[in-house]
């Protein structure tokens, strides 16, 4: 059976995404469940990331990968051979092995009980900057699925903020929603890397295949919304250009797609229900148009409102702020309540900057595309590195954390 799996992986590698995922799905459907489970447990490195394999098997396989990496790093820390980066990584793995949260339920006697909700990973890469794809909710039964593609500076350590964000998107969209944090690519670490579209180009085929993997397990009629934030919007845009299969698309704080892309029609895959964008006042990333014209300026996309009477968003960071109009619109889009989506006025960056009492939109756009952007990027990158070193945990903290995570049970429902 192991040889069959190897042959399958080799055969589907270069197939079109839909055919590849279909073949993998057929392979596992034909297996008795105990054989499939045994395969996931004996070959986790192969089954864990395999698009088209049942998610339950992938969750199991990826948990085994995490536990194996945890054991290896724990031994290094205990023997005082671990580097600072390895110590930080162990802390991250410990957190990934802990339950995502609790929920209230009732037991067989009708009594209220607290139940751990395990984290569910469709991909974990524990080496280097790391990658992961995390699911919150049930992909098989959800009526709506939101796939969130984070942007720059997300590695395995820092992506935890995105898991919280995904949970909030799920709550905003309401019952019957599953969310996916898709850090299935190596996001640029720092503005220097972010000036290149290389990461986004590498992400596009991986994201397209992941969406096919979701399509094969989701309920008939379930709708998928692909959300790209910041550099994640660049990755989503590249996937759209490669024919990504989702129903709705939302780009927030986009740095642009490509100099040649000036309209939604040029990049919208067939069957798209909605192509929406958000740009709040003073979003310097969108104003800079590092990678091409800002999609918020395209004449044929829906530009959603970000402000309400309670909360006004400015800058690049607030699109998912709790109770903001932007976040409310994200929820509406994900659950398909499209008539309720509120639309923003089609203001220009210059008009938005004037409202903020500044007028730096024009200069920023020029700066973002100038040679001076490179040294400025390096200064910002240096600051980010300093912050990383300062937050490195002590050996005792890491070992205590490992002990806590090992007291947790495995996945259960």
């Amino acid at each position: 059976m192991s040889e069959d799996l190897d042959a399958l992986i080799l055969r589907v590698r270069d197939l079109p995404h839909d055919r590849a995922v279909g073949e993998v799905d057929a392979f596992f459907t034909a297996l008795p469940s105990e054989v499939a489970t045994a395969l996931a447990e004996s070959r986790p490195e192969q089954v864990g990331p395999l698009e088209g394999a049942p998610p339950e098997l992938r969750y199991r396989a990826n948990r085994l990968i995490l536990e194996s990496a945890q054991q290896r790093l724990h031994a290094l820390v205990e023997s005082r051979d671990a580097t600072l980066a390895q110590r930080r990584r162990l802390l991250t793995l410990n957190e990934m092995l802990e339950p995502a949260r609790k929920r209230l339920d009732v037991d067989a006697d009708g009594k209220r009980v607290e139940v751990d909700v395990p984290r569910q990973f469709l991909l974990v890469e524990t080496e280097g900057q790391g990658r992961m794809i995390e699911v919150q909710g049930d992909l098989r039964t959800a009526r709506n699925i939101a796939v969130l593609v984070p942007g720059m500076n997300n590695d395995l350590e820092r992506v935890r903020s995105q898991s919280v964000r995904a949970k909030e998107i799920g709550e905003e969209a309401g019952p019957g929603t599953a969310t996916v944090v898709w850090l299935g690519y190596h996001a640029p670490l720092g503005l220097t890397e972010g000036r290149s579209t290389k990461s986004a180009r590498e992400a596009a085929p991986l994201l397209c295949r992941s969406l096919e993997g979701i399509a094969v397990v989701k309920a008939p009629g379930a709708k998928v919304t692909l959300i790209g934030n910041s550099y994640g919007a660049q990755a989503v845009s590249r996937a759209m250009l490669e024919g990504a299969r989702a129903h709705r698309y939302l780009l927030t704080g986009s740095p642009g797609v490509d100099p040649s892309i000036t309209s939604g029609a040029q990049m919208t895959p067939p069957g798209t229900e909605l192509f929406a964008v958000a740009r709040s006042r003073g979003d310097y990333v969108s104003y800079a148009e590092q990678h091409g014209p800002d999609p918020a300026t395209f004449p044929d996309v829906v530009r959603i409102e970000t402000d309400n009477s309670q909360i006004q968003i400015t800058g690049h960071m607030g699109y998912f702020n709790k109770n903001s109009e932007s976040m409310t619109n994200v929820g509406r889009i994900v659950r398909g309540d499209l008539d309720a989506v509120t639309l923003a006025a089609r203001t220009t960056p210059a008009e938005e900057s004037r409202l903020l009492g500044t007028s730096w939109a024009g200069p920023l756009r020029t700066l973002g595309q100038s040679k001076a952007a490179v040294p400025i990027s390096k200064v910002f990158d240096g600051l980010a590195r300093l912050r990383t070193v300062a937050s490195t945990p002590s050996r005792k903290t890491v070992l205590d954390s490992t002990r806590r995570s090992r007291t947790q049970e495995g996945p259960e429902r």
Binding site: A100, R101, K102, R103, L104, V106, G110, R112, E114, P150, G151, M152, N153, N154, R158, V159, R160, S161, Q162, V164, K167, E168, E171, G174, P175, A187, G190, L191, G194, N229, S230, Y231, G232, V285, Q310, I311, H316, M317, N321, K322, N323, D337, F380, L383, A384, R387
Partner: protein, 133 residues
Amino acid sequence: MYHGSVTLTEARNYLRSELLAVAATVVPGQTPTVTQDVGPVGQGALSDESGPESVCTITVETGDPTTTPDPEAQIGFAAETLESRGWKVTISEPAEGRHELTARRQGYDLTVTAQTTDWRLTLTGQTPYVDDL
């Protein structure tokens, strides 16, 4: 109630106690449970997610599984409770059996949701961002 400058840890503890207190009042006789509190997470400063950890979100669940869900009454009572504690409350139009209110006070944001098909009441709160504390 906090006045003046507080740390994120203090804000987190305050939000947690406020959520638990409101939940205990709205559903008497049931102990509210903190179902998620992962601690400070980053919102980002220079670019996407490179900033320091700057905000906390906390979720509390409560409810009585032996009673028939009455989300309209629960949200109404939650609104009264929050207003009496100084929160500015907005009740949303119910949609697909989902009843919800949002509330804001001194930079803290809060959502309470209840559903016709579920006995649980969920309260989720968020601290102000560090710069606003």
